[in-house]
């Protein structure tokens, strides 16, 4: 029984600069080699990695949707492990192929793909005063936070009484 799978492949930018179509085709051929029906294969993004992978700071992401038998992904994983231009990959089952996957690939200049350590598009300057994007806690703040303030307010009055007693 055929199932739909999603595969995200990190491709080295050095290989992409040599020729994106050839690089992409070499990866897509691996899927065809194991009789997996490729539904869609398109460049998802080129971005800076959150941490270096195999010495690379930037990589191009290739997103592939394919349909095959449940035994095939293991064989494809093995093939991708030994592919020279693949930095990392991940295959997992998905419910359905999204509509975006059928859209044509956005054209880009292969020769000017961002080199390591030099982003192709300058990142916006981080705003220092920008509040944290962390979601607010679902629970309301406890009323006990106001208690210390109330305690401080009562302290001076007590202190004055003690002075009067002395």
């Amino acid at each position: 029984m055929n199932k739909t799978y999603e595969c995200m492949v990190l491709v080295s930018n050095q290989e992409v600069r040599k020729g994106w179509q050839a690089c992409k085709q070499s990866i897509v051929d691996l899927f065809g080699k194991h009789k997996a029906g490729v539904v869609s294969a398109r460049r998802w993004d080129e971005r800076r990695l959150a941490y270096p992978i195999k010495g690379q700071q930037r990589a191009t992401y290739l997103l592939v949707y394919f349909q095959c038998d449940h035994l095939v992904p293991a064989a494809i994983r093995r093939e991708l492990d030994f592919h020279d231009s693949v930095l990392r990959h991940m295959i997992f089952q998905c419910e359905e192929v999204p509509a975006e996957a059928h859209e044509p690939e956005v054209a880009f200049d292969e020769a000017r793909v961002g080199e390591d350590g030099t982003p192709s598009t300058p990142a916006p300057a981080p705003a220092a005063a920008e509040p944290a994007t962390e979601p607010e806690p679902a629970t309301e703040p406890e009323a006990s936070a106001e208690a210390p303030e109330a305690a401080e307010e009562t302290k001076p009055a007590e202190a004055t009484e003690e002075e009067q007693n002395q």
Binding site: L10, A50, I53, M90, A132, P135, A138
Partner: protein
């Protein structure tokens, strides 16, 4: 147990409710505003702490099912270099 014993226990904080029992508030449920997907980095970044840890259900307000989806999506994004394991990108 005599009434005298009960009064003494109550004064010392060993009443029927227990000394360390706390008032629990009702859980506030929340639904994800965007689809939980490992490619949706901006959305996922809102559910990690400054150290890069996945926030708890108490903070996210998600149901158990959505919290599991969130955790899986964040872990996939980390593996693919889209999100850092430690700290914030």
């Amino acid at each position: 147990m005599s009434d005298l014993d009960f009064d003494r226990d109550f004064e010392e904080g060993r009443g029927r409710r227990g000394r360390f029992q706390r008032f629990t508030r009702g859980k506030v449920k929340a639904e994800p505003t965007q689809p939980i997907d490992y490619k949706n980095i901006e959305f996922l970044s809102g559910y990690v702490s400054a150290q890069g840890k996945i926030v708890s259900r108490k903070r996210s307000g998600f149901s158990g099912q959505n919290q599991r989806k969130l955790a899986i999506a964040i872990k996939r994004a980390r593996f693919l270099g889209l999100m850092p394991f430690v700290g914030r990108s």
